[in-house]
Symmetry: C2
Amino acid sequence: MAPRKTVGILGGGQLGRMLTHPAALLGIPLLILDSGEYTPAKQTLLAPQPHSHPDGPFTSEQHIRELASKCDILTVEIEHVNADVLESVEREGLCEVQPSPRTIRLIQDKYEQKKYLAERGIPVAPFEGLPSNPTEEDVVAVTKNLGLPIMLKAKTLAYDGRGNSPLQSTHSKDIQASLTHLGDRPLYAEGWAPFVKEVAVMVVRNKEGEVRSYDAVETIHRESILRVCLAPLRGEKGVNHRARELAEKAVGHLEGAGIFGVEMFLMEDGSLLLNEIAPRPHNSGHHTIEAALTSQFENHLRAILSLPLGATALRVPSAAMINILGSSSSMDPVHAMADSALSVPGAAVHLYGKAESRKARKMGHITLTAESDAELNERLRTILFAQPDADAKWIDPIAPPPPSPAHSHAKPLVGIIMGSDSDLPVMLPATKILDQFKVPYELTITSAHRTPERMVKYAKAAAGRGLRAIIAGAGGAAHLPGMVASETSLPVIGVPVKASVLDGVDSLYSIVQMPRGIPCATVGINNSTNAALLAIRILGTSIPALQEATEDYSKQLEEEVLGKVERLEEIGWEKYAEGLKK
Amino acid sequence: MAPRKTVGILGGGQLGRMLTHPAALLGIPLLILDSGEYTPAKQTLLAPQPHSHPDGPFTSEQHIRELASKCDILTVEIEHVNADVLESVEREGLCEVQPSPRTIRLIQDKYEQKKYLAERGIPVAPFEGLPSNPTEEDVVAVTKNLGLPIMLKAKTLAYDGRGNSPLQSTHSKDIQASLTHLGDRPLYAEGWAPFVKEVAVMVVRNKEGEVRSYDAVETIHRESILRVCLAPLRGEKGVNHRARELAEKAVGHLEGAGIFGVEMFLMEDGSLLLNEIAPRPHNSGHHTIEAALTSQFENHLRAILSLPLGATALRVPSAAMINILGSSSSMDPVHAMADSALSVPGAAVHLYGKAESRKARKMGHITLTAESDAELNERLRTILFAQPDADAKWIDPIAPPPPSPAHSHAKPLVGIIMGSDSDLPVMLPATKILDQFKVPYELTITSAHRTPERMVKYAKAAAGRGLRAIIAGAGGAAHLPGMVASETSLPVIGVPVKASVLDGVDSLYSIVQMPRGIPCATVGINNSTNAALLAIRILGTSIPALQEATEDYSKQLEEEVLGKVERLEEIGWEKYAEGLKK
């Protein structure tokens, strides 16, 4: 039928299921190896004629060989596969395997993976191997180099936090508890990485070694299980770019084609440490189905089939992914969570078609897309509070509540700044307008002359924090708006504040007469109202509702004046003028 | 398994196939009635245990009844179904049917549909019924009221232009040719509707009568077959809104729940005439899969199952849909078209899994999403030129070629206007900057005082045409920027032009000192460079690449100055100052 190669997937869970959709769209024949006729992936793509999906464990040599005999290329949706068999299949020329079985084998052993990456200059947390069946003394020995606390980790078959055990002290009791918890698996130890955020980047790589990354995301775990992803990663200038660079570099050292999930730690000082890599579609990339130009799943298929890699850019300003986890064997809470999302605009529900629920089992996910972080935040709160284990203490830092009046929004689109608290009365009308239009903003004081470092830091970080415009008020020499404009790529709106002399003309000239190269949008003297309205028009270029609100506002202004016209006719201009005096 | 009702679909073509994806996501069990095991829709969703998809014609009473016995609700993906059987199934309480069989029956007869809508105040082109087996005289008689030309149309079983025959004259030969062409089907006649655009709106309606519409689209046909959709509809102020209102009103008069495709004509004078309604997902709504918050397919399922209707807003600024039509029995051109799209960023390929190709058969489609109409236009041209019947004469009006230097772009994001050609030298640097940043723009002259009507028309239409900022230069009394700002919701950037007296301070004050309520972003006197850079910063809030380009530009400015510092040290300041004099 289609002139495409037939792909065999080891594993028929949700990742396989999400691969079936782009396979159908691109006409790629797919065979899924897993036990059972109704696994998530087998439900959503009929096997190509005359085949049916093979029924058996994806670790069984016999079944893998059978699958290979019917396919042109094998791939995996889980890394805990039989790498030996895949290697023989490849070596015997029975079938191509992507990513390379050597990469899968390397990644199966977290210790070997870390060693391999560290040797190639990829920054990782300090780590040390442990002998098999380590003694207390072995553990104490590694703390000499790594300090305390450390994390004891199983080298293999560890995921979703299973196979990790933190160790706070070298007390015999604690060490024994950790070793018992981890069982008799091969172990290694990692130094503590006191990260401020966990970060992930999906990277796709084709056989020619071309590598493309998606925007970095913040990943939020609870009890070691991924619960929420926020895209794109917000933070200090360039952090998204640096995370992508590191992830691309790491994947560049691996063999074979496909999509890779790269997990990292963002440290206090802004540095990044690589945590681990998954050689397959990854939970931290599920939002790409709706939020990116090409999904991670489609790009995996494109990469292994030597089709052109798809564009990875986000198609929305702001996105989130929320996992739907089973809370018991009952399906009811799963469906309740899914249903709660149906009333949230921009929420897309993905159920995985699993027949049985279990506590902490991934049963589905919800993708949110939004026009801004603030809009996303509101929707995210709704969805998080509908979860069975909802807990404000956990939710508030992820999706903060609305601010109290006259306080800054946690996810502002507009920043209002001024050089001095004496400018505040002039700048307050801007807050009234933004409140009226329900635009999230923040307000603070930063002076070009008295707090120059604070000003530079504010301006540099603004765009990366999700702001889309800055309103800066200043009087007299009025350097603030122009100086801020020099340190940001955002549009800056300057409000000339009338100071003690010269009627504000000094401020106006200081703000408007910027040198060629650095623009500052200037409004009338003391007219912070217009600064806010201009910021709203700027936001309206990406948020249609604000463009409509501007239309309505103008109409209302017209009606107000027409009302006055009527009153003038009604009572006559002499009486009207008297009214003006009062 | 899932607590959802089981849905039966009459028809298993591409529309059914596109319904299976949201059904899987929402856990909706689906049974598809169509002949064959491998129809497009049956390939992408396994029948729920213990069923298999029924195999038989969707017009067969026996098969419909069998389907109904296994389902809670029946729906259709094609309107040419057996409405009688559906009515009995509903009447006998065997199964719910949505949309109502009465609506399907009404829509099956185009003449009855038009009569029904016209009687309810929906504007349609003038039309008249014809007796069965009409004579020449009957046809001549209707031209008395409808004029010439007219369109003779089959009342039933007409789609993709089949069943329509235009009649230019009442010459016996022409009438006979038309009647012969249409065969012995029941006919009616429609007056000619000399539309400027064809427009379509998808409307979803639930059982409670709640109605939501999607953004209107422009539909572009070739040889009566839909080829391209452009979303959202661009044009005079409010046209999108009016099209949606009309579509919602029309669907409000129909019975039952589901998604409806409403086709309209946009006339020269801006009025809209309803052409026809499809009671199902429609080709003009395929872009909603990627481009809207909820796809038409998901909303159809939500509507018939009494789930909350999904948000219909576009999640991208600009989208298009291009049909992949068969050009012969060979699949090769189909795959070639699909493959050509893989290298186009933002293109999503949808193949329908049809086993056989035929000339003009819908084999798939491509969705394009983009950050702007200009970006979309470029991508659309690439895809249209890869079609087997590509033809610049047909493509150029749909996706115009890039402008020649110093001429306006067909899909501008920035409008540069000035009050007088004497301002042109001052405004030219803005064009250089926009060219440098590859931002599409247009440039024209419109004067607040000498062409006030032209100015108002320009300002009012700007946002609806896809512009995101206006740069307006003016000198002296300099009313243009502020007046334009009064008539648009876009950010307007005023460039004070230095006129013959007062060094431009008059222009500056005239532009910057706007009354509260109508903002105008003012830059330095004669500084159109900064106006362009400000426009780019504004665009950068929705186009990340432009934000990065602004960063790079600032870095370059810094490097230029640092270069000068070096040269100053090298040659000393006296020699340097001499160089400045030259």
